[in-house]
Symmetry: C2
Subunit: 454 residues, 2 copies
């Protein structure tokens, strides 16, 4: 392992420069005008993995953005690790809140500032460089396959079919994923739970055109007011989601489980201070970490209608819309929740408006067993580099494809992420600590070592 | 009057071409990048009024957009009519709903399609051309002054001071305004009531940056959800505005007055059909024409927050905002309502968010007496051209400066508008019927005649 470590040390500046090349490609999957960037990004990655030591690397078409597949088979009898990551990134708006250009990486205060710096280009690139270091020093103890997709941020719509069509190619003992966070650099953790997701869009239509709010105000239902009313009614005064059946399949934790769960380090005062909020808000009867870890939630991710520019316009808009997503916990089925949402939202619409409800994407919740060999290997590897045994951690986030992997390929995933809350993924000014990046590159080869040991 | 009529007939095509020149200037007062268009529009109007027969016409500066003033004094002892209009127009978004270019007038189906075709360029230009026809045929029986402003659509912020500073120059017996609508071409009407307006903007801030909705969803108040909740709570299930004190000063009509008011022709089935709505919605216990004519209302004119582009983004926005305006009726004071709104909106904010409340603009309600000489003169003039005595009509709209004129200049306004509901002012595809335009040009000289008669 010393050889690997010194290889990393010697090449660390080049690793960073290469990551910067990757970060400069604005591969936003949600916006169709970035289509050419997706292909460019995939090709860049395939070339990079070839140089790193892959036997072969390919850009494979899907119904959507291409997938990068690469592999190096050291011994057909050795264990096989399938590294999953995504090269697509979130949109960058509101652009004017970025302190630096979103796609021009800058190092400042020991951090890389750029969209994708953490999520997930920075994290997936740690795997590419750890792989290179092991190849270069002839110390790769497992077969390695890379599966890098370009649609994670939009719910991986093409990857399910791709997996079903390529089961043999993707055969592995474990799927290794760095797309999550740790509690802190002092309190390392491994994510063993992910929430599921159901993402909907609704449109409320009132009159057939925008109306003068003086001539019609008070007599015609205003879809913006109606939408506000309908959205408000989705959560009651106790923070409960009011959609009938929403909680039916939620696995309720036992008192002992809840007690254990709440032992995770958490400081409410610091939490509020970091977010500059006067108070937290959520489901009555649950702690903050329970609210994000083991309870489902409902959030408006976007709302719009009427005149939203400078100044005033006295208008009753014809339409108002919202993007609403729900995070789900084990037991809940994202498709069933989508149906319940649609049925309820249509049921609560007054006669004065018409509503359209569209399912945008979703995914199942996931729980990783803490007793599987890969978890144990990761625990050891992290203990070596962080000097502390990592805690199991339930993330509120979702990586819908993870449960897809289990269903389609029959392979469990290990979520060994090196992100931190302060990385501000999905927000303006996303960043990734240089220490997080290099610590990741250093930890990964140790994982391979312990995982290969059996 | 025959001379005037034949002059109009002979010049009608030129009148239209001139109006088109005026309509092509995109004088949107709400958007500061249109500043140069405001001056260009004012200068065009001053030149046009000079050519029409004014003794002099000037573009006068104000603290905001310039005012056009022109006059022709025929006899210091004759009555003086002050024509008021506004050359600024509403913003044009949503632009993609326009069937033709918003600032390129097109005649189709007997109508002029363009932003400002009715409101108010088309209507004010009828006065310019009626004035020209009277001057050219030596049949102007009154002194005429023109006061055309460029800030009506943003609440006339500079005109109050301009009036206070120029009382002598603006001295007149009546203010003549065409900036309202008739019931229909078959049922002509004169507007004798206008609602007042209080226009506010609110901003709800939760966390100090956009957050990942998975990592924080369920635990942190989402300002978009909170805004929806707060906005929804402003109107109760009976359609009453819940702001304490909101109705305190509303003048309630007597049973007899309400009975008379409801005699105005109105067909609910046709109203719903024209707007393609399943039902109307408003304050319980009042009819649709009462809801817009004599009752105050509250409308969201715009709402926005979070990700509103194509696709999905799993974000808890840091902020969400809304533009909310209230229409007021006689008795209500727009400044008092603004204060009540601000106090209430701040009071209902949960501890989990911060709110900002901003007053954007406002104006007082107005009632025109139906027994003043100008009203009687207009009644006769309209009866001549429309073949039917016009009905008094209460509009739900607002022209805030009208009550300002009464307070500052001590002059009543006569609201002789030739618009129709189908003109879709403030909406995409605004239009103005050629018959409305020419009927207006023809009616105005008759008004002068009857008004001069005493």
């Amino acid at each position: 392992m010393d050889k690997v470590k010194s290889y990393i040390e010697k090449n660390k500046d080049r690793f960073l420069n290469e990551l910067f090349e990757l970060l400069r490609i604005p591969s936003i999957s949600a916006q169709s005008d970035h289509k050419p960037d997706m292909t460019r990004c995939a090709e860049w990655l395939a070339a990079s993995l070839m140089k790193a030591g892959a036997d072969h690397a390919e850009v494979l078409p899907t119904e959507g953005n291409p997938v990068v597949f690469a592999e190096r088979i050291v011994d057909p009898k050795a264990k096989t690790v399938l590294v999953y990551g995504h090269y697509d990134v979130m949109p960058v708006d509101p652009v004017d809140e970025w302190r630096t250009s979103p796609f021009e990486p800058v190092v400042k205060d020991g951090r890389i500032w750029c969209r994708g710096a953490d999520d997930d280009k920075g994290q997936l690139f740690m795997h590419a460089k750890a792989f290179e270091a092991m190849c270069a020093t002839d110390s790769l103890p497992c077969n390695v396959k890379f599966l890098l997709e370009g649609e994670e941020e939009i719910g991986s719509p093409s990857l399910y079919k791709f997996c079903a069509d390529n089961k043999k190619m993707l055969k592995a003992d474990i799927i290794l994923v760095s797309d999550t966070s740790m509690i802190s650099m002092q309190i390392p953790s491994i994510t063993c739970g992910l929430r599921g997701l159901t993402y909907m869009e609704v449109e409320v239509t009132g009159p057939n055109k925008d109306l003068h709010s003086g001539l019609f105000g008070g007599a015609v239902a205003n879809p913006a007011n109606v939408l506000a009313r309908m959205v408000a009614s989705l959560i009651d005064e106790n923070g409960h989601v009011t959609i009938p059946g929403f909680y039916d399949d939620v696995r309720e934790l036992t008192a002992a489980e809840r007690k254990a769960f709440n032992k995770a380090p958490f400081n409410l005062t610091e939490y509020k201070k970091a977010l500059e909020i006067g108070d937290v808000e959520g489901e009555a009867g649950f702690t903050t970490i329970e609210r994000t870890g083991i309870r489902p939630s409902l959030d408006v991710n976007g709302i719009w209608g009427g005149y939203i520019e400078e100044g005033t316009k006295t208008v009753i808009p014809s339409k108002a819309s919202a993007k609403i997503s729900m995070r789900l916990v084990p037991g809940q089925d994202f498709k069933k929740i989508a149906k319940l949402f649609e049925k309820h939202f249509k049921a609560i619409a007054p006669k004065s408006v018409k509503v359209k409800v569209k399912f945008l994407h979703g995914g199942m919740p996931y729980v990783a067993p803490t007793d599987m060999p890969a978890y144990k290997a990761a625990e050891k590897a992290i203990a070596d580099t962080f000097g502390k045994k990592p805690l199991p951690f339930y993330s509120g986030g979702s990586i819908p494809i993870i449960s897809g992997f289990e269903n389609i390929l029959g392979i469990k995933s290990l979520l060994i992420g090196f992100g931190l809350a302060e990385d501000a993924i999905h927000s303006p000014n996303e960043s990734y600590g240089l220490d997080q990046f290099y610590k990741g590159v250093e930890t990964i080869p140790l994982f391979y070592k312990y995982f290969a040991e059996k």
